[in-house]
């Protein structure tokens, strides 16, 4: 029963939502919507649960004085402060201040540092002894050149080259990736729908 119940719930939910998506029979009534709402609540709860788990993990590290637990202390402190303000004063200026002047600049800084890393990496690639490095740098330079503003003033071929690169090789590669993802998702979905695989249930 402990194993059968989760499998049965998963199979019913999967088939109902799939049928609603593909053929939407009227006799299903509001069951698909109920299942979607349940998924929504579970998704929100999972977010809360993940946050609590993160706080507990770092809290234990801090309590035990493990190495680099000071980072964990900062995390727990920031989490508690933000959580308390967010719950007690939702949408308040204090919450916006934290987000605007702490969280956003920190994330933007990480991306800003990537600029320097990128320039350094380009230089390093140029110094590699492998022949492929030359090709890599060459293609990168071509792509940079064709994307430069007013590149059509340099040559009308440049915008056309850029469009061709994006439309043919890049799109072909992206379609391959998307098809691979779709096939993998289909296979995994079918295995779950037919009860062959049940990662949610205990073995």
């Amino acid at each position: 029963m402990r194993r059968l119940l989760p499998v049965a719930v998963a199979l019913i939910a999967g088939w109902v939502v799939l049928m609603d998506m593909m053929i939407a029979p009227a006799w299903l009534g509001s069951l698909p919507q109920f299942l979607l709402e349940a998924a929504l609540v579970l998704g929100a709860f999972a977010l809360l649960f993940g946050t609590a788990h993160l706080a507990a993990t770092h809290g234990v590290r801090v309590a035990q004085g493990q190495s680099q637990s000071s980072y964990g202390a900062v995390l727990v402190l920031a989490l508690v402060v933000t959580f308390v303000i967010g719950v007690a004063f939702p949408g308040s200026r204090a919450l916006s201040w934290i987000f605007r002047y702490l969280y956003t600049p920190l994330q933007a800084t990480m991306l800003g540092l990537m600029t320097f890393v990128l320039v350094g990496a380009v230089y390093r690639v140029g110094r590699l002894k492998r022949r492929g490095a030359g090709w890599l740098v060459g293609v990168a330079l071509v792509l940079l050149l064709v994307q430069v503003l007013a590149s059509d003033a340099i040559s009308p071929l440049l915008p056309a080259l850029r469009d061709w690169i994006m439309a043919v090789p890049v799109t072909a590669g992206a379609r391959g990736i998307l098809l691979g993802i779709a096939l993998g998702a289909t296979a995994a979905g079918l295995r779950i729908l037919f009860g062959i695989e049940h990662p949610y249930a205990p073995e």
């Binding site: 919507q33 979607l36 709402e37 998924a39 929504l40 609540v41 579970l42 998704g43 929100a44 977010l47 939702p90 949408g91 919450l95 916006s96 987000f99 605007r100 969280y103 956003t104 994330q107 933007a108 990480m110 991306l111 600029t115 320097f116 990128l118 320039v119 350094g120 380009v122 230089y123 390093r124 690639v125 140029g126 110094r127 590699l128 002894k129 030359g134 740098v137 990168a140 330079l141 940079l144 050149l145 994307q147 430069v148 503003l149 007013a150 590149s151 059509d152 915008p159 994006m166 439309a167 890049v170 799109t171 590669g173 992206a174 379609r175 990736i177 998307l178």
Partner: protein, 389 residues
Amino acid sequence: MKLCPRCRGNNSEDANRCVWCGLPLRSETAATGGRREDEPAEARQTTSESDIPNDPLAGLEGLLPAVPLPPAPEAGYAATVEPTEKELSDAALFFRIATEPAPLEPPREPPLPPEPPLLSRSMRALLALLVLLAVLTPLASGGRLDVALRPSAGNRALAQAVEALRAGDRVLVAFDYAPSAAAELAPIRDAVLADVARRSAGLVALSTRPEGVDLARQSLERLDAAYPGLELGADYALLGYLAGDAAGLRLATADLTAAFGNSDASGLALAEVPLLQNMHSLGDSSALLVFTDDASVARRWVEQVGTRVPVPLLMVTTAAIEPLVIPYAGSGQLTALVSGALGGVPYAAAGQGASLYSADGLLAFWAVLGAAAVWGLLRRPAKNRERRS
């Protein structure tokens, strides 16, 4: 040497018990214990043995007969042998080895000479300087090059979709990106939102990412400050965070109240927000505009919403995920796709004139990247020659 008083056997100085007969041996001062030296030996022995508590051999004395040992040979000669130079040297070496403190750690291999950094200090400083110049260039130029950018097909499609909006229409805007992508998406985001506001169309914002709600709030506040006539609830609204990823989007296409609850992010009841009157699902809008930096989020919008809602789906993405979203634009599932700061500049420049983001900085940054690549290529033969020599 210590002589056993019973069996007369020789023992080492630090022996506590005779190795021949087992008799406990005491040092002279301890054994006498302050007694008189003229006390009988037997009495002293008895007393000293009884002093040892829990002696495992107590009571066994005399069980085995003591065998007298032959006397130790005496030295056959008394002449002093002078050590040779080599013996002195060996002795000195042995002494040094014996008295050397034991190492606390296993012996280490000799440290390798430090490798020179791949980028010299001057090179690193130069690259940093060039990047800074690339950042500062737009400030100096004032963004004059923005208007020189050629609008892409996505730009034109986006502009047409926005031009088609009429007063009273609703545009649903998803702020599905992280703050790190805000700078890249800001030019076109602000320009599009301003265009929609100028056309008196309503803006309904939401996010499927928790941090996107505050980004949406910031953008709407900025818009409100730029256009004082706008009113919260009547001209724009913030639905809030939509949990559940694909399931959440799917539910929102069917029932907005079930997906978001009864109130928006400002605490207003959905039924009391004038802009949301008669809006029961995501499909009850004139256009869907999605800002995202995540290819899976883009795919989710196309699959869960775009396929079920007969509304133009407009997407603005970061340049990094453009290749994964292009196929949806090619198949017509996206009405418009604009990506990256480069893609956003023509729209922003056309709508608001020159800005400080933009083409000048991109051009300078490209120049830096190109210079770094060429420099690296040119230095490679020189480096190889150095290595060979």
